[in-house]
């Protein structure tokens, strides 16, 4: 019966999905940049390896689907909290089918599946920030109010606040949890504005860690039984300044994991490629 925050970041499983060749040409992306699929796959493999071997997570790997170029970004397909998994309805029409495989996988993990059947609702998992105590849902191009409402309905224990995402694709394009009660936030104006909104909306106090690069603010925090605090973050190659900041403030954490996934480039954030869950958790967080 650990306290709310005590269980935060404690995962047992991770769900990932392979990279289809179609990612290179057909995937949705903000910038037009060529993606080296082979390199991306190498990076992704390394990533999965870290999850499995170094972190000891049980990794469920879904096969890539060529008809779903963005299927590698599994984070958008579902939101898992506690023993409930909300299967989303991605804002991009082309990605709606990504949820099918995800639903099956999560069902097999014995999670309570909640589906978003409302035709008017859209929600990308990338817009959902779970702080351990509450949800923030970014209202973006991909996520609308109705989607947020359904999420709130699925996770009744928690407050669900909406945060306008004015720039960037997702809420988590510029922020994430860097630890219990610690929000890592990009330094751009939209990011800072969103942070202010979140701080105002919350009954809880969060520390913040501002990194120079918005994309570097996307990290994955874990608190693993045998590993202690783990933070997956970008590489120093990508965002050297941001990594400095991350390292300086994360000294208390025992383990820092730096993942090299350059191959995915700026298309991919770490959290996007993975859904984490803890099968052993129960109750509130």
């Amino acid at each position: 019966m650990a306290g709310l925050m005590a269980g935060f970041g404690n995962f047992t499983h991770a769900v990932v999905r392979g990279i289809p060749v179609s990612l290179a040409k057909e995937a949705l992306r903000g910038k037009e940049s060529e993606v080296d699929v082979a390199k991306a796959r190498r990076e992704h493999e390394a990533y999965v390896e870290v999850l499995r071997m170094r972190l000891g997570l049980e990794v469920v790997e879904l096969p890539a689907d060529e008809s779903l170029p963005d299927c590698v970004f599994v984070e958008d397909a579902a939101v898992v909290c506690g023993d409930t998994a909300l299967i989303t309805r991605p804002g991009a029409e082309s990605r709606r089918k990504e949820t099918e495989a995800m639903k099956c996988a999560l069902k097999e993990l014995d999670l309570n599946i909640v589906e978003m059947t409302d035709e008017t609702a859209t929600l990308d998992g990338g817009d959902v920030l779970f702080t351990g105590r509450e949800f923030f849902v970014g209202l973006s191009k991909r996520t609308n109010q109705r989607g947020a409402e359904i999420l709130a309905d699925a996770f009744k224990d928690y407050a669900v606040s909406t945060v306008p995402v004015l720039e960037g694709l997702h809420l988590k394009s510029f922020c994430s949890m860097g630890g219990p009660g610690l929000i890592v936030i990009g330094s751009s104006e939209p990011a800072q504005k969103a942070l202010k909104t979140m701080q105002q909306m919350s009954d809880h106090r969060y520390d913040k860690l501002t990194v120079p690069d918005d994309l570097a603010a996307n990290c994955i925090y874990m608190n693993l039984p045998n590993k202690g605090h783990v933070l997956l973050h970008c590489t120093a190659d990508e965002f050297p300044e941001s990594v400095k900041v991350l390292h300086s403030l994360l000294k208390p954490c025992r383990n820092h994991l730096v993942l090299l996934n350059r191959g995915l480039g700026q298309l991919v954030n770490h959290s996007l490629c993975c859904i984490f869950l803890n099968k052993r958790s129960r109750g509130l967080a």
């Binding site: 709310l4 309905d153 669900v160 606040s161 909306m201 509130l284 967080a285």
Partner: protein, 1059 residues
Amino acid sequence: MTTEAGTETEVKEKSEESAAQPDQSEKATEENQEVASAENVATEGEEKKEKDKEGKGISRFLPPWLKKQKSQSQVPGKETSPTKEAPRTQEAVAKVTEEEEGPAPAVNGHPEEVEEKEEVKLEQKRESPSKASADTQPAKEEKVEESAEKAPEEAKSTAEGEGAEEEKKEQKGEVEGEGEGETLTSIFQSPLRLVRKAKMKLVVCHVTLLDGTEFPCEVEKRAKGQYLFFKVCEHLNLLEKDYFGLTYKDNHEQRCWLDPTKEIKRQIRSNNWQFAFNVKFYPPDPSLLTEDITRYLLCLQLREDVASGRLPCSFVTHALLGSYTLQAELGDYEPEQPRPLDYISQLTFAPNQNKEMEEKILELYMSHRGMTPAQADSQFLENAKKLSMYGVDLHHAKDSEGVDIMLGVCANGLLVYKDRLRINRFAWPKILKISYKRNNFYIKIRPGEAEQFESTVGFKLPNHRSAKRLWKVCVENHSFFRLNTPEPPTKARFLTLGSKFRYSGRTQTQTRQASSLIDRPAPTFERTSSKRISRSLDGAPVISITEAGRDLASSAENGREPNLELPSDSKVQEVELSLGDVEATPTQSHGPTEPVLSQSPLRVHGDNIYVRHSNLMLEDHDKTQEEVLKHQASISQLKRSFMEAPPPSPPQPNQWEKRLTSSPATTLRIQQQQQQVVSVAQTEAAAADNTNSDTKEPGKTTEVEIEETVVIQEVSKATKPGHVTVTMAPPVTPPVQQEVREQEVKAAEEAVALEEAKAGKQESISSESESEEEAEYHPNVAASISHTQIPEEKEEEIEEEKREEDMKVENSYSTPDAASLPTVASQSAEAAAAEAEESRREEERGKKERAEEEERAEERETEESTEDPMVTPDETPNGHTLSEEGTAALVALAEEEKEPKMNGETSLAEAEPRPQVICCSEPPVVKTEMVTISDTFAAQKTEIATKEVPIVHTETKTITYEAAQLDGSADGEPGVLMTAQTITSESLCTTTTTHITKTLKGGLSETRIEKRIVITGDADIDHDQALAQAIKEAKEQHPDMSVTRVVVHKETELAEEED
């Protein structure tokens, strides 16, 4: 007629929320009114008789013009009102008024006036008991109170009347009221004790406890909520009782918290003595509670909250909480127990409980083996407290765009939900003020780092009752969780308008301290769930609407509320109409209601008050707040100084002020008053009478809705050489308390204005103007010195001065003294200036004092002030007094704002001529034109106390129009106020009050006519047009006169503005 019109309009307004049935509602309203009026008459009849007798007896020995005075003066003395000490001048005034009334009995207005007076008295009596110990009160008072009580009920019923049902209720009420009236009469002469014995009826209250059992408790019929609550806690063996409270269902099936400081009977309205014991403040950390029994009771509440869906939680949480419940109530799981699931399924754990959940509950329950009941409760609480909706009291509302939202009040602040999503949050420290007006609920937000202005956020509640309920919950939650000690009730400090409601219990801090001292062996108690099983869900403590039940609740509310609203609106409109109709419309029906209202402030607020605003000041003070406080303090001091300073002529409070101050009048009442006043004005003397009566009564809450007030000052030309010594008009006869109130009110108004100004960028201007408004009042001065050219800065100073002057002037006008004191030269600039100087000095002193005071009570004051502002508007209607006070307040505010400049300003102001620019802020002050009248002396003798027409301010926006001043000739030369007349005429939406002041100068007489035009209407009114029209009319009426000043005081309802 008026009524109908009002109703219709109301209906229109509320049509949005509910499809109203105008016809029925109208009918109901009318009937109610009739009934009420009848009752009033009956109740008041006795008192009247007495008064008459007295008057007659005394009158024999006095000259005719004195007779009436005396009679009146005596009456007041009897009544024990604080005001009674008022100087003789008041009496004189009273005389005047009486005389006026006497002669013109036939006038429609008169009867009403009489009633009003009586009512006022009643109110006074009522209030006085509250201040003093009730025990000491004479039988009379009790009687009055009783009648008053009944009356309010009726009034309420009328207000809320829902078609035929309501009517029936009312009829019943009437019958009862009559019966009581009889008893009262019989009791009337007997001492209190007798009365008490007779009244010592016992009533059995049925209190539903958290475990579902019912606790019958016998209480005295007039017992306060506290008594019953303590009885229940005693029964429960509960020491940490501050987290709990009793609820009852009002006539609209809404759960309300029983106010411990008020009589139960007055709160429940119906004869349904059913209550529920519930958690009122959910401790954020239940582990900090001292006793297990407290935690147990909290668990019971939460179990019900969870089971009813009021506290939403996930499947897993439902199961977990259920398992702890079983562990606490049953102890360890016993494997031998047959078919545990059957048992579990009999219990209600969740709104959507199913087999799967029960199995999960059982599974978890089995894992709790070894856990003691207390531990299980603690675990239950540890999980429950994390739920996002834990301790959140939800209220349906609409945002400014009409979107359905929910407002959640909790320990941390105010949460805004749309559907299930939190869309905004206002932590207590972020909130500067909380207020409500009608069905609007406002919070003023502290400006953020990057923001310059405070902003006000408004929400629409289904009706005014729900708005008030929400407001009260906010006040209580803030007090409980954020304050170290509860704020003292407003009463203690001053008489203030608006809701005096404050959290009266201990704060969390205090209760923790107290509970840390608990030294007793843990009481044994039995945990049982059997009762809970069968328990119905209606026990829900808070009115909060469950999300699940939202639809139902909303629909229900809609059905009921619309009706309610309609009536209320109709009332308002009626009031307004009455104002306009002054002569024609008798307020008879209103009369009865008013007294009632006065008796129970709460009720009044809920039902009748439209303008009410109560403010919750947070601990943090903004500069603004401080300023406000300072203003208030300064104002109060100023008033005091005024009071003290000018001994010669007792200042007379405006009728309105008095009324307002004295009686927590409802809008209706105010309206009535206004009407009466108008009639009086016509009669000339009558107004004075009213004033007197009003003065006697300390009105606490008056709420008048005047949305827009246009004050047009017409300044006549040269004053005559004769010096008019300005009597220290400021010295207001009414007791200091009243003044204080007024001051507060004004201050509050000012504060509001300031706030508004800040909130709205436009407003910033308005705020200034408001301050100026006071200044405006100096019509006289302006006329004489008239110079618009003074730089703005100076203007402000000047304005301040003007304000003071105005106040003085107003006082002089208002003061019946005029009659007794021939010397009042209201409009002479010099006199005004002199007064202004004096006032300044006084103010300065006051400032010092203020500072001290401020320090002490900054928070309180701020809060009060905030509240007051809302109230103020109502009071404002009083007219002169209000205006005076208001002006004073304004001045004070201005001073405060520019404190550093103050000294210089004052001097400057004195030296400089007064600017003609007039800003009318709060009290609708009418500017007077000087018209020369040949018979000066006669006029002096005739002294007519001018009463200003009560103008109600809701919100204050002051728009200043500069009128070209015609004659500077009078500069510096004070004129003598020969006569002042108040003439009121009405048009549909406008009430016009005209003051005519005659000044003798040398051989010339000047006549100033001040016209105050009150235009009531929706925000849509084109002020400029209204103003233009008013000026045009004024010119037409007095072709030989020139318009020297135009002051526009715009009072808009916050809600409307925001909307």
